[in-house]
């Protein structure tokens, strides 16, 4: 029997490398499993020692049309683009327009919004752009 020719060995090596590259590419964003359209907001949370806030679009759109938040309450169509702080929420702006104990539960329920994995960057979860490119601030701060 002849020994395996070097070309085959090189090919096998390269194949293994290719698999490694493909595997890394596919598995790196494999954490992306959450609900389509869930928004992670981590403008200030990590720095303040809180878990990032997660906004479930699906839950809210069953109860309100887009217009209520995006026109009446002034939410921009941009994850993390609204500079929301707890001060503004308690003041009745943004989430605080409803999460005030009247329309919806109020701000004492910290953990219901601040339930994200620590260090999760601001993002629209499972969005097309997230599948095409690395989310802004992946593995680091937002800016």
């Amino acid at each position: 029997m002849k020994q395996v020719p070097w070309v085959t060995r090189v090919r096998r090596g390269l194949t293994a490398l290719l698999f490694a590259v493909v595997a890394i590419t596919l598995w790196t964003p494999s954490d992306s499993r959450a609900e389509y359209g869930d928004i992670v907001i981590n403008n200030y949370a990590d720095a303040a020692g809180m878990r990032p806030a997660i906004f479930p679009h699906w839950f809210h759109r069953i109860r309100f049309r887009c217009k209520v938040c995006h026109a009446d309450l002034g939410f921009q169509f941009k994850a993390g683009g609204n500079e929301i702080t707890m001060l503004k929420i308690i003041d009745g702006q943004f989430c605080g327009a409803c999460h005030n104990g009247e329309v919806a539960w109020s701000v004492e329920n910290c953990d219901l919004c601040h339930s994200g994995k620590p260090n999760t960057p601001t993002q629209v979860h499972e969005s097309t752009i997230q599948k095409l490119a690395v989310p802004v601030g992946q593995g680091g701060s937002k800016k």
């Binding site: 839950f59 329920n109 994995k117 097309t128």
Partner: protein, 219 residues
Amino acid sequence: MTRRIPTLLLTVFAAALFGSAPAIAQDAKGKPAATPAAPPAAAPAAAAPATDVNRFNRLLKPANQRNLPPSQDGIHDPASEGTAALMPPLSAFETLPRSNAGNRVNWVKALEDRAINPRWDRVDANAVPVVMDLNIVREVKGSMPDVVYPHKQHTEWLDCSNCHPAIFIPQKGANQISMAAILLGQKCGVCHGKVAFPVSECRLCHSKKKDGPVARTGQ
């Protein structure tokens, strides 16, 4: 120049992969004990483990991994008490019409069928939207059917000011739209691909068959 190296390497790797396909087959023949062929009575696809490399539709998310409860969805912290209190999406979607993309709910149909009744006003449950029934047809280049944009379904959800004039100038021919821009989250992509159905559903927008010969009738 250095930026091109990864691309070149990948090309080489790909070439190596195709070139060595027979070699891999040979390996499989040579060592049948190493990786036995899939057993004839394989378990149904629903419970296919992620480690099964020969899984059907390997790159698609299997049905049992869609709409996972918050504790398993990858962004919620299972250690947080709040996570356990949140509603699992599937329990809400059970009664809603399904679709093939996004979170697999046909939201427009859900609204039409009155499966959901989302408020138009923050506090007034009886407020109703001002629905505008006007279709905009956009002729597109190439062989794709033309795009029909229905104001009706959009104004059920949105206010005019959500799109006009910041995203779309309300004037015929004033808006340059491309699939590239949409993929990058501009124009239609501000919502479609984030919360509304993604671009994989081509024919939901590209829905008007072109009249006559198709070639070179772009706008």
